[in-house]
């Protein structure tokens, strides 16, 4: 029973997925979208299981002080920090701030005569502001901009990511002077300052470093493995050298023939072999898929006990 029900579910949904490719009817499409939503929910809920698994595996290793247990502490602390900074804490508590607007007590006759108004913005030098579609940088000192009378949108934002822009709609009459102060607040969550800072200064460099290790491993693998033991190995070796020289600018500097040879290797033998492997793999994938969908293969369904 424990194996029969999953087998039946697998066959039913597998056959539906295959049939959906051939049936354009919108009811089938709507049902398919619904199933995809279910799959996405299942996959998301599995991440909770994954988090629990990490704790279950890591915590005993820390408690028993197994080798490299300190790295396990770093792992758990890092995960906790990212979880906490990824939550939108700014949505709790006080409502969003807007810029403060102060108006001068008396109108400016000279401005009024010219039919203009003036908006003064006082913000820090890491804040940019946009008035009526024109942007400028804050300087820490008042910056005066003349505008036409009416409703004017003033938007304040910080140069770096992770801060919420502040927007004020200021209605000014001819001759009126208004002063806008504002300090865009920091936000939390995926777009928040701390999350973005950690992404830019820790995650990105670490990710790039791991990928960069490949350069060193390629060199050591090349030294170890590219030996002309037989004819096939020698051909592979020669092709590798031609490709490396031909694809780099150095190859063109040495000879114009090298890039053409590299392109020929890419277009003819490589593409030919690649297409053959792709076709074989695709046919194999169809056969494997069919045997899983039809229930011929059942070893992935688990035990009966």
């Amino acid at each position: 029973m424990k194996k029969t029900v999953p087998l039946f579910i697998g066959i039913a949904f597998g056959c539906f997925a295959v049939a959906e490719f051939y049936i354009p009817h919108h009811h089938v499409g709507a049902l398919s979208n619904e199933f995809r939503q279910w799959a996405a929910i299942l996959a998301a809920s599995a991440f909770i299981l994954g988090g629990v698994n990490i704790l279950q595996v890591t915590w005993p290793q820390i408690r028993r002080r197994e080798p490299d247990w300190r790295y396990k502490v770093v792992l758990l602390v890092s995960a906790a920090i990212m979880l906490l900074v990824g939550l939108p804490w700014h949505k709790l508590g006080s409502p969003a701030k807007t810029p403060t607007v102060e108006r001068a007590a008396t109108a400016d006759a000279e401005l009024a005569a010219r039919g203009k108004a003036a908006i003064t913005v006082v913000v820090d030098d890491d804040v940019t502001f946009m008035i009526a579609g024109k942007s400028a940088a804050g300087t820490g000192r008042p910056v005066v901009t003349e505008v036409d009378p009416g409703e004017v949108e003033v938007k304040l934002s910080r140069r770096v990511a992770g801060y919420r822009p502040l927007t004020a709609k200021v209605t000014v009459a001819a001759g009126e002077r208004a002063t806008v102060h504002g300090d865009p607040p920091m936000i939390w969550g995926r777009d928040g300052r701390v999350f973005v800072w950690i992404y830019d200064h820790i995650f990105s460099p670490a990710n790039a470093t791991m990928f960069a290790l490949l350069a060193f491993f390629v060199a050591s693998a090349a030294f170890r493995a590219f030996r002309a033991r037989n004819v096939e190995a020698a051909l592979l070796l020669a092709a590798a050298i031609f490709m490396m020289l031909g694809r780099a600018p150095l190859g063109r500097a040495i000879s114009d023939v090298l890039p053409d040879v590299a392109q020929w290797l890419l277009d003819v033998p490589s593409n030919g072999g690649r297409r053959a492997i792709m076709m074989g793999a695709a046919i194999g994938a169809i056969a494997t898929g069919l045997r899983v969908i039809l229930g011929i293969e059942r070893s992935h369904l688990g035990s009966d006990s």
Binding site: R36, A40, G133, S135, A161, R190, D191, V196, Y199, D200, F203, S204, P205, N207, A208, M210, F211, A215, F216, V218, A219, S220, A222, F223, R224, F226, R227, A228, R229, L237, A240, I241, M244, L245, R247, A248, P249, L250, R252, A253, P259, Q263, L266, D267, S270, N271, R274, R275
Partner: protein, 307 residues
């Protein structure tokens, strides 16, 4: 007891020496540039020509006078050294034509990168008038909702790319990344799916990426697409260029450097091309050295057997 042959010692050679040589080969060209010209290959030229063929218009013109281009940025920080130079060059190229740009991504690691790219290259001018070392037309800061739209991130790999091909607005719930309703954005009038764009630019580091676009939507709808990929994916995507399913392919850092040369603004790709040259030479030297050691050892063993 006979002394050990030098080839036998070198067979057990500590590979950290190779790491050290590679490290020197990577670092030195950054400070002492070779200055070799980065000549573009035919696939990169084809990509450049596809963008060059788009119509140019004025800053206040609207489609169809202006080209509408869909840019899918599917990369992570690890692949930025290879394909970010292409992204910057192609965006400069598109901004010179005042093309309207629509951005999206299908990689969950990409949104912070996309936000940074938009701030640095779209909302600011990449090459304003008077830029050193650049003789081409200047570009301008783009206006959100008028010159560009960021649709944001959508998960779903092949399925979501299929949705882009049939119902782009629905795939993003009819809203841009900042919540603006898409039907309020004039530059998107008449755009409902990928085939409504004049060109599709794929900045693709892996899966899902250019291959999925070709397989799920490109071939079916005969979409004009150019792609940039990491060097290791070149062999994967080259067949699609050969058959015309991709009308241009910019492969790795060498391709990015070639595109920068065509656009006329050398950048990180051109600077990295020197590192690529020296790094390739180190790998070739390692291969040659390994074979010398191998053949020397084999000859020594044969002599030892015959004598």
């Amino acid at each position: 007891m006979s002394a050990e042959h030098w080839s036998a010692k070198l067979q057990r050679f500590d590979r950290r020496w190779i790491f050290l040589v590679m490290a020197v080969a990577v670092v030195v060209p950054l400070f002492v540039p070779l200055g070799l010209p980065a000549r573009p290959d035919p696939m990169t030229k084809a990509a450049f020509n596809a963008v060059e063929a788009l119509p140019s218009c004025g800053p206040d013109d609207v489609p169809p006078k202006c080209a509408r281009v869909f840019v899918s940025i599917d990369l992570d920080p690890a692949s930025t050294p290879e394909i970010e130079p292409f992204y910057r060059a192609v965006v400069l190229h598109l901004k010179r034509k005042n093309a309207k740009l629509v951005f999206a991504t299908t990689w969950y690691q990409a949104p912070p990168l996309v936000d940074r790219y938009l701030r640095e290259t779209i909302e600011a001018a990449i090459a304003p008038a008077g830029t050193d070392g650049y003789d081409g037309a200047a570009d301008r800061p783009y206006r959100k909702g008028i010159d560009y739209v960021n649709l944001g991130f959508r998960d779903g790999k092949g399925a979501i790319i299929q949705a882009f091909g049939s119902d782009l607005r629905g795939a993003f719930d009819h809203r841009a990344d900042d919540g603006t309703r898409l039907d309020r954005i004039a530059m998107l009038d008449g755009v409902n799916k990928l085939s409504d764009f004049d060109l599709i630019v794929l900045v693709s580091a892996g899966n899902p990426g250019a291959k999925e676009y070709v397989q799920y939507v490109g071939t079916r709808n005969k979409l004009p697409m150019i792609a940039a990929c990491t060097a290791v994916s070149t062999t994967d995507l080259a067949p699609y260029y050969q058959t015309g399913q991709l009308i241009g392919l910019v492969a790795g850092m060498a391709g990015s450097a070639g595109y920068e040369t065509l656009v006329g603004k050398p950048g990180a790709g051109t600077a990295g091309a020197d590192v690529l040259n020296i790094g390739n030479l180190v790998v070739i030297a390692a291969i040659v050295f390994g074979n010398v050691v191998f053949f020397a050892g084999r000859r020594y063993q044969r002599r030892g057997r015959t004598s």
